[in-house]
């Protein structure tokens, strides 16, 4: 008799544990960041100090860019309003400390995903929202059209605190070229010094070069060389130790990319609820319980698509239409020859 009682209680306990794991309140309880965000009423997001196309503020203080849109997507998902985001502009040097110290909850600031950053310093990268690579910009009248024309004694302007400094060394060392690195703390000063002629070349991520070129006195006097010397997968980062929050940010980004894949846009999202395709229905919250595991309601993904748009819309609005990088290159869907490929929401 006692034997059965013992088994019965353990069974009840197991069911109870399973039950609590599947209820939404439990997920919210487990994620301190989610709870704090909902209590505060805004998402705390770290962005750059001004990189057109990625995160840039206009004169009125409105932030736009593909990195900004990731934070807006999270705000739409957890708070129901894509505008409830507090942006904190950070230098490359400050960004990780701001995140690990809890000043911000998402770092969406053209940050390269590397092993040491992911493993070492209390950070977790949740995905890639822009595939980039480091390149070089030179003055057109220099006649340089390829990095193979670089000679000993070349000086290269760049930022400190980025992977750029390391890639640059690897590149020049492997080519056996002696060079002078001139590393500034802020991007604006790099642009000013390069523009003045302090350096022969300016090196950073190609997207950054394209964006900064627009800030030069005569943008047409400069060109980005075709070579790419490194892999720079840029993506949002969260603090280690809050896996629910990590999942929310990851799947907010994935939702935007998958929405583009299935042709769901901010304009047609509502009408897609009646689609015949169950995958599309799941994307707009019309089928399944896709928000429960995060402690969110079922229309969290619908709100992202309606308020922020899918990845393609975000890219077009921020990067293509502004003339920064009209060609999507690797940042095209895998179905269209790019490498954007995300796990399915199901």
């Amino acid at each position: 008799m006692f034997k059965y009682l013992k088994q019965l209680t353990s069974l009840v306990a197991m069911v109870a544990v399973l039950f609590t794991f599947t209820t939404e309140t439990m997920a919210a309880k487990k994620s301190k960041t989610l709870k704090n965000t909902q209590k505060k009423g805004f998402v705390r997001c770290g962005v750059s100090q001004g990189l057109p196309g990625f995160s840039n503020a206009d004169a009125a203080g409105n932030w736009t860019g593909v990195d900004v849109d990731v934070c807006r997507a999270v705000a739409a998902a957890v708070l129901g309003d894509a505008n409830k985001v507090k942006f904190t502009p950070l230098s490359a040097k400050e960004r990780f400390t701001a995140l690990t110290s809890g000043e911000i909850d998402i770092l969406s600031r053209n940050t390269t995903w590397t092993l040491s950053r992911d493993a070492d310093i209390g950070l977790t990268f949740v995905g890639v929202n822009f595939y980039d690579g480091q390149g070089f910009m030179v003055r057109k009248d220099s006649g340089i059209t390829s990095t193979s024309q670089f000679k000993d004694g070349i000086s290269a302007c760049t930022n400190i605190g980025t992977t750029t400094e390391l890639n640059m060394r690897d590149f020049f060392n492997s080519k056996g070229i002696s060079y002078t690195p001139v590393a500034f703390e802020k991007a604006d000063e790099v642009v000013a010094a390069y523009d003045a002629g302090r350096c022969d070349t300016y090196t950073t991520d190609k997207s950054g070069l394209a964006a900064q070129r627009t800030k030069m006195t005569n943008p047409d006097d400069h060109m980005v060389l075709p070579e790419t010397i490194s892999k720079e997968p840029l993506g949002p980062v969260v603090r280690q130790g809050d896996s629910v929050w990590e999942d929310i940010v990851r799947w907010s980004l994935n939702t935007m990319i998958e929405a583009e894949e299935y042709g769901v846009t901010s304009a047609n999202a509502d009408s897609m609820k009646t689609s015949d395709n169950p995958q599309i229905k799941r994307l707009v919250g019309a089928e399944g319980e896709m928000g429960a595991a995060f402690g969110l309601d079922n229309e969290w993904n619908l709100r992202i698509i309606k308020q922020v748009g899918n990845y393609g819309e975000s890219y077009k609005r921020n990067i293509a239409d502004t003339g920064i990088l009209p060609d999507r290159g690797p940042n095209e869907l895998w179905t269209k020859g790019g490498i954007l490929y995300v796990p399915p929401s199901r």
Binding site: G122, G143, G153, C157, T180, E185, D200, G241
Partner: protein, 381 residues
Amino acid sequence: MKFKKILPQFLTLLFIVLIFGFFTMNAQENMDTRGIEFGFGFLKQEASFDIQFSLIDYDGSRSYARAYLVGLLNTLLVSFIGIILSTILGVIIGVARLSPNYLINKTASFYVEFFRNVPLLLQIFFWYFAALRALPMPEDAPLIFGSSYMTIKGLYTVAPVWNNFDVFFIALIIAMIIIFFFNRFAKKKQEEEGKQYPKFLISLGIFIILPASTFLIGGVDLSWSFPELKQLAKTSFTYEGGLGIPPELIALTLALTLYTATFIAENVRAGIQGIGKGQKEAAASIGLTPSQVLKLVIMPQALRIIIPPTTNQYLNLTKNSSLAAAIAYPDLVLVFAGTAMMQTGRAIEIVGITMATYLSISLAISMFMNWYNKRIAIQEK
């Protein structure tokens, strides 16, 4: 009674210890939960980034500790040059402020009021960005003094190439030792017999003749390496050979010197004005020449007023040199608290080391100046 005296001090100490304990615990806990480790092992790892300008051998294959040393030496270099130049300029301007000549007097006043009232960071930006843009590109730079080029990429000048430099260096040290003992001997002679030697001329003679003789008999040889224009691309040039001084160092030194010199000038003026007129008149009345009055009567007393506030200015200059980060001069803050901190993510350790370093530099300067101040203070008998 005694207990009452000790209690507040004990409580203060306890309070401070508790606060430190709390912050340490808090940091420890937060770092644990976020999976951040604490330790100084990273200093031995390969830095893998290059530095523009270094006084010692360095490249990216060296350790973070070596990169720290490069940054430290660059900070010390700019502070050292800045302190020397700002002292010279400060003394000149300070004396000029007291000049009876209206033009000199007003120019010095205008200089002081202008440069000390514009924020230093702005001045650094001005010298770097505004002055830099005005400099010619390497291929257009005119030849200065038959050997140097001032360009947007820096100052390129001749570099000495030594043979047997160590012999020359030892001769230099021996000369200095001889000068030291000679001066002591001369002072003693003057005190005992009232005999005066031309100390300065003899010292200078020893200082020049002894090291110079090593060229003839010590096998020391000196040749010069001149900068030569090199084409990198159609419109892109640089200089090779010689000595290249980066524009960042020039701009930073210029800004720090011009800014700090204004404060030193005011200290000098105040020090000289702080000495009573009677002192000067009394000295003149016993037959001292005007230069002897300044050297033997006014300056020794004025220095006591000048030294303590000037020490503060030296400390300020050293700490202000950390603004270098804004214009890419690879000082301690840019190299170590910048790049190295970013690459390793060791914020607490690196900021701690950097703070301790600045504290040590400042305390060392402070100790030296206190020693000097004590030495020149009036010994009450």
